[in-house]
Symmetry: C4
C-alpha cells in the first residue's frame, strides 16, 4: 500500500468527497453503477418518487399495482352504491348476497372502464352523480396510466454491455488495463465519451482513507459506437497504478468506476451508463479475442456479441 | 461597506444588469431560487402560459380545475339538449323539474365520458349530432388531460435538498463559506456543475448600488452526485468577501445565489436547481457534522439525510 | 456603401453561404426569425411534415381538421353499413330517407367515439366486424390526437419578447446599437446566449453582394434571465458598422439577425428564439427607459412589461 | 495505394478501432449512415428492443401488428367466454355454430374497445370478471398504443437531403471535394456541425488495413441552416487524399462518412444525420449548379429543392 504513483492525477470531481473516511471492505459502486449505499433519516414516503418508482419497477410489479388499484377503487365505489341503495341501480338481476355484490361491483367496473354496457344503469341523482364521478376518475386514471406505460416504454437507456472482466494485457511496449463494451441493439450512440476513475484505499497517518484518481484512456471518445470498443488505460508512469502488482491492487481494494455518455440518435437523447470493476474482476495477463470479421463474401462485417467476454491468457512483459 | 475586495471577479452574466439601481431591503431571490419580483404592465391573460400553469399548480387545484371544467361543460350540453327538446332523448324516466334536469345532465356526463350506458339515448338528428359532438369534445378533453397528467408526473426536476444555512468554517489555514446539498431520491445526477454568485450592496458616488461577483468554489464539478456534497468557497485574497466581518456582510445585505445543473440519468434529461442564502442565513464559526459512515459490517455506506443541516459551533482562526 | 470596416469579423457560419448573390430589396429574415424564402421544386406532399404542420397550425385550423376528419370517417363507415344492409343494425327507429341516414351516421359516430349507447347495435358478422374495426380506428385516431394535443401544449418555446426597435444610443464614450428583450411568463431561461449577425449589401466588382459580419456584444451570456436584458453592441473600431451614418445603413440595407438560446428550467429543455431588425427599425439617438424599480416598501422589484419598447430621444455624441 | 498523405490527421475517434483488419469490398456504412454489419451471437429476443422496433417499422407493418394483436386478444377472450358458458352472456341472438362464435367474438371486441353497446352483456361473476379484465386490458393496450403512435409521430429527425454525389470541383487555386445538403421541411436546424471522415484501405506490411482520417471542412459550422449548404473539403497539403487520382481513390476504396448534428428549433431537440459516399459516388471535374435566386420582384429568395443533385462538368486545374 501507499505505493500510489505520485505523478497520478487526483480526481476530486467524483462527488464522493476528497477526504472521505469511508472504508470497510465493500465496493463503492455496485456492478450496475449505482452506489453501494444505504440511505436513512428521511421517511420512505418523503423519499418516494412515485413517478420514478412506477417507471423503474418490473412489469410484473407494475401490473400488480394496476390490478390492486383497479380492484380497490371498484370496491370503494361498490360501497358507495350500496350506501346510496341498490334500488337506484336499474337492471339488476340478483337480489341478495354475494351475487348482488358481484353485480354492483361489475357495474362499477363497467363504469370505471367506460364500457358502460347499460343493462345495469344508475337511476336518480345520487347514483348518477357517483357513476359520472367514477367515469371521470377512470378516465383520469387511464390518463396517468397511459403516461406511465409510455414512460416505461420510452425511457432512454444506453443499450450497451460491458465485458465481465477488466484485463491487464500487453500493450505496445508495456501493459494496459482494458475492458470492452458493445451496443447490442440498433440504438447506436454517437459522440460517445468514456471516463474511468480509480477508487483505492490508502494508509495515511495510520488511517485508511479512500482516494480517487483519473485513469486516462488511450482513446476516450468515439464519434459513433456501432461495434465493440475496447477501452485502454496504459499503465505507464502517469498511471495511478504504475508498478502495482496483483497483491498491491488487492490490498488497496482497487475498483475502477466507468462512466459512459453518448447521444442515442434513434431517440435523439443523451444517455449515460455506468459500471464498476473491482480488483476481484481484474484478470492479469490476458488479451481479448476479436469479436468481428468479414462475412463470407467480404461485403459485410459480422459482429459476434457472444464473444464480448472472451479472452485468452498471455504472459505479461517483465517490466 | 465599500470594503469589497478589488481583486474579486465581477460577474456580469447574472442577467440582472451591471448597473442596476435596484435596492431596498428585499432579497434578490427567494429561497426557491425564483426572483423576488412583481411583474406588471401586461394583462394576466397574455402572460398566462396555460400549459405551464396546469403543470405547476398543486394537485388539489388541478383536480378542482378538472371538476369545474367537467361540470361546466356538462351544464352547457344539458342546456343544448333542453333547447332541442327532451322528447328527443329516449329512455327518460322523469318528466319534470330537478329530477328531469338531473337525468339530462347525467346523460350528458355519460356521453362526455363515453360511458354511454344507453338507457337514455338520443333520437333524431339534432340530439344525435349534439351527442356525437359532446363525445368528440370529451375525447379531445381527455386527450389534453392525459398529456397534462403525464406532464405533471414526468416534469424533470432536480431532487436535491440544500442545508438550511451557509456556514463560515475553518478550512485549511483560513476560512471558507460552505453549504451542502444531498440528493434525496434515487434520481442520481451526473456531470453536476455548481455556480455561486454574490449579490451585494455597495455605495458608489453616494448612491446604493447592487454589484454581483463570482464566488469561485474549491470544487465546482462532480462526475456523479450520489451522496451529500459540501460546496466550499475559500475566503482568500481572491474572494469578494475577503476581510468582511459579520457586520460588513449584514450592512452590505450579502446574498449568495446558488445554481446547480446536472444530468438526471434516470430520466436522461438535464435539470437545474437554484437557491439563495442571505446574510441572515449565514452562521459564523461552525462546521458541518458528517452525514455518512460505514454500516455495521463494513460492506456499505450509510447516508443520514436528516443530518443535512447539522453543524457544531467552532472558533474561527484569527486572521 | 463599401464603407464596411476592414477590421470587422466576417461571419461565415450563417449557413447562408459566403458568396451569395442574393439581393433585391427584401429582408433576409422575417420578424419572427424565419427566412424570407420561397421553396419550390418538391411537391408539397413530400415536403409536408404532417406532424410538424399539425403541431404548428392555429387552434382553429387544428379543430377544423379534427372535425373534418371525424365527419369524413363517419361518412365512410356509414356507407359501409348501408352496403352491408341496414337490416343488420338492430334498434333503428327510422325506415327511410335522411332520417335513416342520420340514425346510421350517428350509430357510426357512437361507435367511433366508443360511446356505444347500444340502442342501435350491429347484428351479424359483417356489421359487427365493421363496427369493431370502426371502434379500433377510433381508438387509434384518438391515440394520435392525444399525442398531438399534448405536443401542441408542451411544445418548448422561448417566452420572450423583443423591443420593437433597435436603437443607436450613447454608451460610455461612444455609441452602441442596442435592443432589449424580456421574458413575459414564469418560464425563466438559464444559461442564455445571444448572437447577433449583421447582413449587409456591399458592392464588389460592380456587383451587389451580401456579406455577413459578427456583431460582438458587450455581454452576450446570462446565467439567468429573469428580467429585461438590454443587448449592447458597441460601435467601436471593431464594429462592422463603425463610422456608418443612417444613410449608409439604409443604402447597405443593413439587417441584424438575433439568435437567442437558453435552457428553460421549468420544462428542462433548451429553447431558441430568433428575430431580426432591419435598418428601417433602427432609431438613431435614443435611449431605453428603465423597466423596473423597487416596490413601495422596498422589498421587491417591480417589472413593467409594457415599457419594453419605451425610449426617449437623446443627442448622440459627435465623434 | 499507400499514397496516403503523411501530413493527414488520423481520426482515431471513429469508434471503429485503429487497428481494424476489416476489409473485403463492402462499404463501411450504408447510404443511410448505418453500419454495413451483421450482428450474431445473441438471440433475437434479447437484442430486440420492442419499443425501438415498433417506433421504426413502416406504418403498414405497424398497423398489421396492431390488427393481429387485436384479433388474437379477442380470440383468446372469446375462448374464455365459451369456457365459462355462453348462458352467462345475455342478449345473444344466435344459438349455434359460427354465428354464435361471431356474436361472442364481437361482444369481446366491444368490451376490449370499451364501446359496450350492451345488447350482449355479461351475467354472473365469471363472465363479468372476465369482461372487466378485458376492458382493463383494452385500456392498457390503448395506453401503450397511444404512446407508440405519438412516439412514431414525434420522433425527432433531421429533415435534410444530401446530394446524390460528392464532386471534385475547382476551388480557389486548387480543387476540393464537395457535397451539399438542404433542409426540405420547415424544421430549421440551428447550431449545425458537420464532421467528415475518410475511410480508406491501405497496405501495410503486405496486409490490407483500414485507416480513418479527418477530412477538415472549409466551413464546418452554421448558426442556422435554412437553405442549401455546400460542404467543402479543400484538397490541399493537409488533406489525406492530396495528390490522389481517381484510380488511387478507387484502389483504396475510399469512402467518406458524413455526420451532421444540429438543434431542431421547432421541436427543441438535438438531431443527427449520417450518410456516406463511396468512391463510386464521386464525380471528378464538376461543379454544383445554383439552387436559389431572387424572386420576380426581388423581395424573396426562391429555393429549388429539385436542383440539389444538379451539377455541370468542368475541367479541373492541372496541379
Amino acid at each position: 500500500m501507499n505505493k500510489i504513483n505520485k505523478k497520478a492525477q487526483i480526481n476530486n470531481e467524483t462527488g464522493l468527497g476528497t477526504n472521505t473516511t469511508l472504508s470497510g471492505g465493500g465496493r463503492f459502486f455496485n456492478r450496475d453503477g449505482n452506489p453501494n449505499m444505504d440511505v436513512r433519516g428521511m421517511n420512505l414516503w418523503e423519499r418516494l418518487n412515485i413517478y420514478h418508482s412506477l417507471l423503474t419497477m418490473s412489469w410484473f410489479n407494475f401490473l400488480t399495482v394496476v390490478v390492486i388499484y383497479f380492484v380497490t377503487t371498484n370496491l370503494l365505489f361498490t360501497g358507495i352504491y350500496f350506501l346510496i341503495g341498490i334500488d337506484h341501480l336499474g337492471g339488476l338481476m340478483e337480489v341478495t348476497g354475494i351475487e348482488l355484490f358481484g353485480e354492483v361491483f361489475f357495474f362499477s367496473a363497467q363504469t370505471f372502464t367506460t364500457v358502460g354496457y347499460g343493462r345495469i344503469n344508475p337511476i336518480g341523482f345520487a347514483a348518477s352523480f357517483t357513476a359520472s364521478m367514477e367515469a371521470l376518475t377512470g378516465l383520469m386514471t387511464f390518463a396517468i396510466a397511459t403516461g406511465i406505460m409510455w414512460g416505461r416504454f420510452s425511457k432512454p437507456k444506453a443499450y450497451i454491455r460491458y465485458s465481465k472482466n477488466a484485463i491487464i494485457a500487453p500493450f505496445r511496449d508495456g501493459i494496459a488495463l482494458m475492458f470492452r463494451m458493445v451496443p447490442y441493439t440498433r440504438n447506436y450512440l454517437v459522440n460517445v465519451e468514456v471516463r474511468v476513475t480509480l477508487a483505492i484505499h490508502v494508509e495515511e497517518d495510520g488511517q485508511r482513507k479512500n482516494r480517487f484518481y483519473n485513469m486516462p484512456l488511450d482513446i476516450a471518445k468515439a464519434n459513433t459506437m456501432t461495434a465493440n470498443w475496447t477501452l485502454v488505460h496504459v499503465i505507464n508512469e502517469e498511471s495511478p497504478i504504475y508498478g502495482f502488482t496483483k497483491d498491491d491492487l488487492t490490498n488497496a481494494r482497487a475498483e475502477i468506476l466507468v462512466f459512459v455518455q453518448g447521444f442515442d440518435e434513434s431517440v435523439s437523447n443523451t444517455v449515460v451508463s455506468r459500471t464498476s470493476y473491482t480488483y476481484e474482476e481484474f484478470i492479469f495477463g490476458a488479451k481479448f479475442l476479436p469479436m468481428y470479421h468479414p462475412n463470407e463474401d467480404g461485403t459485410k462485417t459480422v459482429l459476434h456479441l457472444d464473444q464480448l467476454d472472451a479472452y485468452e491468457s498471455v504472459t505479461l512483459p517483465v517490466k
